[in-house]
């Protein structure tokens, strides 16, 4: 079953925050390597939220949405937000290879967001391999996967074995088995997958390598993870690296994106306390009439500028 059959994409605050972080980053990167003329490749589903952001915020026009089921593809075509969005039906590996075989698509950089709802599998890594092999210089690769412990196997030992088998040397051999327990697994997975992207770029002989740019654990019902980076031209590598390692780069949030669902009234009240040099305390919240868990408050304050405000539209 496709995830759009089970999830209403418009009501996911953490997903919205994660998307904002990614596009804030891409907007910043756009100053160093222009992305306007890029080809955006993603899984637009029937909502195309990331496609809308890519067009609005980066002015990207050429876009391909990959959809692997016939009904999904038809609904995708029906819901396509812009004239320049093309929905291509097929397995992602097949469509990606097909894109890579079309010369005109290799004349511009790609911004590829492989936004899976499944966990890490060999097929995900195959898709990553296709992008790293074929994406033109100054392309961006972003991968989102389900990072729930269960998606990686049973027990710490099982998960260690599974990840080692998939990601090889990108998994640190020195990690004790406890690191693969459910509590810490998203961090281990994030590091290993980021290492894997860098290693693949070296192994596949990309002259500018891959500069890591996104490591965003977030909770969207399930534990999710977004990892990504830039495949710069050799001459652009140091500039891209400086951008992605600068303090204003948003791609490595210090706090996981696990903001609490809040009412519009709560959001408004909290926003009036922000920005603040000192952390907002729960006592302050209580004074204005409500309360949150410490972790919820900290997360909200970290991500408040990107927290969406949803209103139900009655029609």
């Amino acid at each position: 079953m496709a995830s759009f059959d089970t999830v209403n994409y418009s009501l996911r605050p953490n997903k919205a925050i994660q998307r904002q972080i990614v596009f804030d980053g891409l907007e910043l990167l756009d100053r160093y390597i222009p992305l306007k003329k890029s080809l955006y490749i993603g899984f637009g589903s029937i909502w195309f939220t990331d496609f809308v952001l890519a067009h609005r915020r980066l002015q990207i026009s050429d876009m391909i949405s990959i959809e692997n089921k016939p009904i999904g593809a038809l609904r995708g075509k029906f819901n396509s937000p812009f004239k320049t969005v093309i929905v291509e039906e097929g397995d992602s590996s097949v469509v990606l290879r097909d894109i890579a075989n079309r010369e005109k698509e290799l004349e511009k950089p790609w911004v590829v967001w492989l936004d899976y709802d499944r966990g890490l599998t060999r097929e995900v890594l195959d898709d990553v391999g296709i992008v790293i092999t074929h994406a033109p210089i100054n392309s961006v690769l972003i991968v989102t996967i389900n990072a729930a412990a269960g998606s990686l196997g049973k027990g710490a030992g099982g998960r260690q074995h599974y990840l080692k088998n998939l990601l090889g040397d990108s998994v640190d051999d020195g990690l004790p088995q406890e690191s693969f327990e459910s509590e810490g697994i998203v961090g281990v997975l994030a590091n290993a997958l980021q290492n894997y992207l860098v290693a693949q770029a070296v192994q596949l002989g990309r002259p500018g390598g891959l500069v890591p740019g996104f490591k965003i654990p977030y909770r969207d019902g399930s534990q999710m993870l977004t990892i990504g980076g830039v495949l710069p031209a050799p001459a652009a590598r140091s500039a891209v690296k400086a951008c992605l390692q600068s303090v204003e780069w948003p791609g490595f949030p210090g706090v996981p994106v696990e903001a609490p669902p809040l009412t519009l009234k709560e959001i408004t009240a909290l926003q009036r306390l922000l920005p603040s040099a000192k952390p907002i305390s729960r006592a302050q919240l209580r004074r204005i009439g409500f309360d949150l868990e410490d972790e919820q408050l900290r997360t909200y304050c970290e991500h408040y500028r990107r927290y969406p405000a949803f209103l139900q539209v009655v029609n």
């Binding site: 397995d91 966990g119 599998t121 060999r122 097929e123 269960g150 998606s151 990686l152 196997g153 049973k154 099982g158 074995h161 599974y162 080692k164 088998n165 998939l166 090889g168 040397d169 990108s170 998994v171 640190d172 051999d173 020195g174 590091n191 980021q194 290492n195 894997y196 860098v198 290693a199 770029a201 070296v202 002259p207 390598g209 050799p234």
Partner: protein, 448 residues
């Protein structure tokens, strides 16, 4: 016709651009560590390597640090003497008259130069010797190599200058202006992990002897060789000496053999089975399953997943490193070496014992497993001398006749089913088998 001369002079480019292609980056780093260890062994009075006896390397440390910009290796293993530096360490290849230190690993006089040339263009090698108790010590020195400049000049020599002393007697090599591919690898965290794993394995003997190796500040742990031992399971541990080369062999069961025969199952990448060949304590081949160590020799007994679980360790020790059967990269064996041929015959016999056991085991699996469960792990090097490998004697009657079912299904579907079984890493074979059991339980209502 008048006898004419044919020019056979070597070219500098040969050393910088050609022979550097024959060696992998990690092996270059190992070459530099080998030099450090030869220095340490020399300071210790050149003790003979032995599987039974420990040598105390605990005073010595080799630190390796690298980034996208530079590479550094620093040791406290005694440094290069001025005399060695001028006459030996920087020559290309060992001279006939050179007398290597006893039980060293460096053989060909090519390692350091090849390594630094492979890494980059801007090289500084510093050395500080220990101060003698009486009299004046040697002045610390540095050798600077600007590779492009050296290639352009007609002179082969490098400049040697005095230098500030290092914090401890030893050698420090710093390489900057790294080659593009090297810089890319040094920025790759997977390379660092891989290097740490290789060092852990290939210098396991030295680390066990107390040597400290650090990679980017983090200490490398020794790879542990453990073998199973019980009344019914006994590893082989024996030795012979020929023409000044001592050959020690340990072989036995390191894990229960595989129940599956699929190459994709049980993580082939992690498989430690096979032969480990060491020369003067340094690992040359690891987990080898090729013809070089007897698997598939003369088209017989090619490696097969059924044989997982076997580990053989063979240590060649010789006072003169050129008597050892290793190639210049120290990552391969000279299979035509007389002593290696003799050792190989013994290795094939030991491998054959294991293969026979795994064959017998297939028809008495339950009995074999129950005997194997009583065995305990011991460090391989501490196993007692034993001239005969022993594996469980199996008496069970063969099981009811089995039949193998084989079918193909789309990979995606198999993965989906594996996830539904709650184990996404499950092999295709297990998915097939579980599906059969599931259908059998649902439709027939019994076990197997």
């Amino acid at each position: 016709m008048e006898v004419k001369k044919v020019n056979a002079d070597p070219t500098k480019a040969f050393f910088v651009h050609t022979i550097t292609r024959d060696i992998k980056l990690e092996d270059c780093i190992l070459d530099l560590i080998d030099n450090s260890l030869d220095g340490a062994r020399d300071l210790l009075g050149s003790p003979e390597p032995s599987l039974e006896r420990a040598i105390n390397f605990s005073k010595y440390e080799v630190a390796i640090e690298f980034s996208e910009e530079q590479f550094l290796i620093r040791d406290n293993c005694g440094g290069i003497s001025l005399d060695d530096a001028i006459n030996y360490a920087f020559t290309f290849g060992r001279r006939e008259a050179d007398d290597p230190d006893a039980y060293s690993i460096g053989v060909y006089g090519i390692g350091m130069k090849r390594s630094v040339f492979k890494l980059g263009d801007d090289i500084v090698i510093r050395s500080t010797r220990p101060q003698p108790k009486k009299g004046a010590g040697e002045e610390p020195f540095k050798v600077t190599i600007d590779v492009p400049g050296w290639l352009r000049s007609n002179v082969w020599d490098f400049d040697l200058d005095s230098a500030e002393p290092l914090s401890a007697p030893g050698v420090e090599i710093v390489v900057k202006s790294l080659r593009e591919n090297i810089s890319a690898e040094f920025s790759n965290p997977a390379f660092e992990n891989r290097l740490r794993r290789i060092l852990s394995r290939d210098y396991s003997r030295f680390i066990e002897y107390g040597l400290t190796i650090r990679v980017n500040g983090k200490k490398v742990k020794a790879f542990e060789f453990n073998l199973l031992i019980s009344d019914a399971i006994k590893p082989f541990h024996g030795e012979f000496t020929l023409k000044g080369v001592r050959v020690q062999i340990i072989a036995g069961m390191a894990a229960r053999p595989s129940d599956t025969q699929d190459p994709d199952d049980e993580g082939e990448k992690e498989d430690r089975s096979g032969w480990y060949v060491l020369c003067n304590d340094r690992m040359v081949l690891a987990a080898d399953k090729s013809e070089l160590t007897g698997w598939g020799y003369e088209q017989k007994n090619r490696w097969h997943p059924q044989y997982r679980g076997f580990i053989g360790i063979i240590l060649f020790s010789a006072q003169r490193a050129d008597q050892l059967p290793l190639t210049t990269t120290k990552r391969n064996i000279d299979r035509d070496h007389e002593i290696y041929k003799l050792a190989l015959a013994r290795m094939i016999e030991l491998t054959r014992d294991w293969i026979d056991y795994t064959n017998r085991r297939k028809s008495a699996l339950d009995e074999a497993k129950s005997i194997e469960r009583t065995a305990v792990y011991v460090p391989a090097f501490t196993t007692p001398t034993n001239k005969q490998q022993v594996y469980p004697r199996l008496t069970s009657a063969p099981r009811a006749q089995d039949v193998t079912i084989q079918y193909s299904k789309p990979l995606r579907v198999v993965r989906e089913l594996a996830q539904r079984f709650g184990e996404p890493g499950m092999s295709a074979r297990e998915v097939g088998s579980k599906s059969f059991d599931y259908a059998h339980r649902e439709l027939v209502g019994g076990g197997d």
